[in-house]
């Protein structure tokens, strides 16, 4: 009888601990969900802030920028080729002051 009661008490104790741990896990899970939601919200805000239409309005209004035309672009290899084909005097930067 004593052993049985002892086992019952032990079992109850384990169960109580398990429930407490479960409650703790639930709290953590809840915190995790809240944090995930916060991340989701921040991601949505970032996406909104960097949406192309918004940036276009800002860049054209505040900085007077516009898309770069193809005629103004070239690859680095092409740029190196251009520099190589230029006469040395044209490609050497003038630093001024020491001539």
């Amino acid at each position: 009888m004593v052993v049985f009661v002892g086992l019952l008490v032990a079992l109850y104790s384990i169960k109580a601990h398990t429930l407490a741990a479960k409650a703790k896990v639930a709290t953590f899970e809840q915190a995790l969900i809240s944090e995930r939601q916060a991340i989701q919200m921040l991601s949505a805000e970032i996406a909104h802030l960097e949406s192309p239409e918004r940036l276009r309005v800002l860049s054209s209004g505040q900085l007077n920028l516009q898309p770069t035309p193809a005629s103004r672009t070239m690859t680095l290899a092409q740029a190196a080729q251009v520099i190589a084909q230029k006469p040395l005097s044209e490609t050497t930067p003038k630093t001024g002051g020491v001539q």
Binding site: A26, T27, M41, H48, S51, E53, P67, P69, T75, T91
Partner: protein, 569 residues
């Protein structure tokens, strides 16, 4: 309870023995009585304690062994319906779900419906007071007041302190990029069920618990460039509507698909049906001369015209009493390249008639122009095809009349001609590296190369010169068609289109632009034809998206030599 004390006298009245005969005498003193009472109390206490202990042990046993442990759900949002994100091909967020608070009320707790209504309207002025009051005065136990409140609205309602009001956490679908790719993304209803676009197409997958984000084939940068250029074009050319598609020829992925006027999917309920219509995949047009590359492919595939052969496009041509006219009349016979470059209706009619109506229909079928475009989006219209295929049908279809298809359908067909002749169904889902692509052969690779070269010629020497972009070796074709209104073609109401593909050495991307009823503008010499609007827009789109898509510009050495370095020029 009476006992015989040790000092009691023998019972004299009983039996034979002395003891039996001795009389019984009971003496009860006060001390003995106390002892007896104490014993009784102790025994009762022990019994009660034992019963209590037994009860405790039984309860302990019941709790420990028999009762299942309850799971904890303290104010969690676990039960809130979730929906996976939609991202573009580079992982940029296009659609997500956020938790919002929805306001409800328990009308049974309302003291004064009029006062409560006034209080609610003071913080939520967009609600209809009559409806709110009617709901608050009802006998129900639960009514919605407003769903998906903003955080500010929630705080204002909270500060009212009305006991009949409560909040329920509800998810809300949010499209942080606003109008961008609205027709591709579609939208959901208030219960988060996909009702249009990708939301509808991938509804099951998006609704699964802990589902991964759905990656679309859309490139946000290309999408914006397309929509931006179409928007500017629509304004400049005063068009009624515009649409465009950017297609990866090699994989069938739709990199961008735009339709104007558009709508904000965050407020899809208030959008006009006209704005919600995805013209790129739902609107049927007779697209005109952008069909001609198909006829060029037909002629090459059937071998009805030899290299260097010239056709009498300068002579009158009448089919079943209908004269076939050219917008750019010439006075000499033309070869195949010039027929396409000068967009000769007579030229392609002669080619199509030589090939025959059956061969033409076969090719159109292989290019998917007799069926709706088989893609994930439900918004894909079936074409309008003549029920009876006469010579006049063969003639008109050769230059894009007498058959109505969506811009996406024609873009897919033309992409096939530029993809070595392999038809690939378009998709809005990102193609994974190593993923098999289902395709079938529609024309030979030689025919495909022929179309590639003739379309390049259109941009260098033909009607598509306005689309040319330095360094990207564009191929293209213009298309200007009069609209069919009440069975009559109306001269001033045009649908203009342009197909552009690049680069010429290995066509990888295709851009298709359509304007609905564009007008002439300053500098167009009174023309509103495709070369003056759709071609320019297609060129502008290519110029913006080619560097983004990683297509290197080819620059001639001479041009390199003369180029100036630096940003100040």
């Amino acid at each position: 309870m009476n006992e015989t004390p040790p000092h009691a006298l023998p019972n004299l009245s009983s039996g034979n023995t002395f003891l039996d005969a001795a009389p019984t005498l009971s003496v009860q003193d006060e001390e003995a009585q106390f002892i007896r009472q104490a014993r009784v109390r102790i025994i009762m206490g022990v019994v009660i304690f034992s019963l209590f202990l037994l009860l405790l042990i039984t309860r302990l046993a019941e709790v420990s062994l028999l009762r299942p442990s309850k799971s904890f759900t303290p104010m969690t949002t676990n039960q809130v319906k979730t929906r996976a994100d939609i991202v573009d091909r580079n992982g940029e967020l296009l659609a997500t779900s956020l938790e919002t608070y929805s306001l409800y009320a328990d009308p049974r707790k309302v003291w004064d419906a009029v006062a409560s209504t006034e209080a609610i309207i003071s913080v939520l002025p967009d609600l209809d007071p009559a409806i709110v009051e009617e709901r608050l005065a009802s006998k129900k136990s639960f009514i919605w007041i407003k769903r998906n409140l903003t955080p500010k609205e929630r705080q204002l309602v909270f500060s009212l302190g009305l006991p009949e009001l409560g909040f329920q956490i509800e998810p809300k679908r949010v499209y942080p990029r606003g109008n961008l790719a609205a027709h591709v993304l579609g939208f959901t209803d208030i219960d988060l069920n996909g009702t249009a676009g990708a939301e509808r197409a991938f509804d099951k997958r998006l609704s699964e618990k802990d589902a991964a984000p759905v990656k679309l084939s859309i490139d946000m940068r290309a999408q914006f460039a397309l929509a931006d250029e179409l928007g500017m074009g629509m304004e400049k050319y005063q068009a009624m509507a515009a649409s465009g598609v950017v297609l990866n020829i090699k994989t069938g992925e739709i990199l961008a698909m735009a339709s104007l006027p558009d709508f904000n999917p965050n407020r899809s309920g208030t959008a006009l049906p006209n704005n919600r219509l995805n013209r790129a995949s739902m609107q049927l047009y007779e697209l005109g001369s952008t069909f001609k590359p198909i006829t060029i492919a037909l002629a090459h595939e059937t071998g009805v015209v030899s290299v260097g052969e010239k056709l009498p496009v300068h002579k009158q041509l009448v089919i079943q009493k209908k004269p076939i006219k050219d917008d750019h009349p010439v006075h000499v016979p033309l070869g195949v390249y010039d027929i396409l470059a000068k967009s000769s209706n007579r030229g392609v009619t002669l080619l199509a008639l030589k090939a025959g109506g059956d061969a033409q229909q076969d090719l159109l079928k292989r290019l998917g122009l007799f069926d709706r475009v088989p893609m994930e989006l439900k918004e894909s219209a079936a074409p309008l095809v003549a029920s009876e295929w006469q010579d006049i049908t063969t003639a008109t279809v050769s230059y894009g009349h007498g058959i109505s298809v969506t811009p996406l359908a024609l873009a897919t067909a033309l992409a096939t001609l530029l993809n070595g002749g392999q038809y690939i169904a378009p998709t809005i889902e990102k193609h994974q590296i190593g993923q098999a692509i289902t395709s079938h052969r529609a024309v030979s690779s030689a025919t495909s190369q022929h179309v590639v070269d003739t379309m390049r010629y259109v941009v260098t020497d033909g009607t598509g010169r306005n689309a040319a972009v330095e360094g990207y070796a564009l191929m293209g074709k213009t298309g200007t068609a009069e609209k069919l209104i009440n069975g009559e073609y109306v001269k001033k109401r045009l649908v203009t289109s342009f197909v552009a593909a690049f680069p010429h050495r290995d066509p990888h991307y295709l851009v298709f632009i359509v304007y609905d009823e564009p007008k002439a503008y300053d500098g167009s010499w009174g023309y509103a034809t495709a070369g003056w609007n759709a071609a320019k827009t297609a060129g502008a789109v290519v110029e913006r998206i080619a560097p983004v898509l990683g297509i290197k510009k080819t620059v001639k050495v001479a041009a390199l030599r003369d180029a100036k370095v630096g940003g100040g020029q």
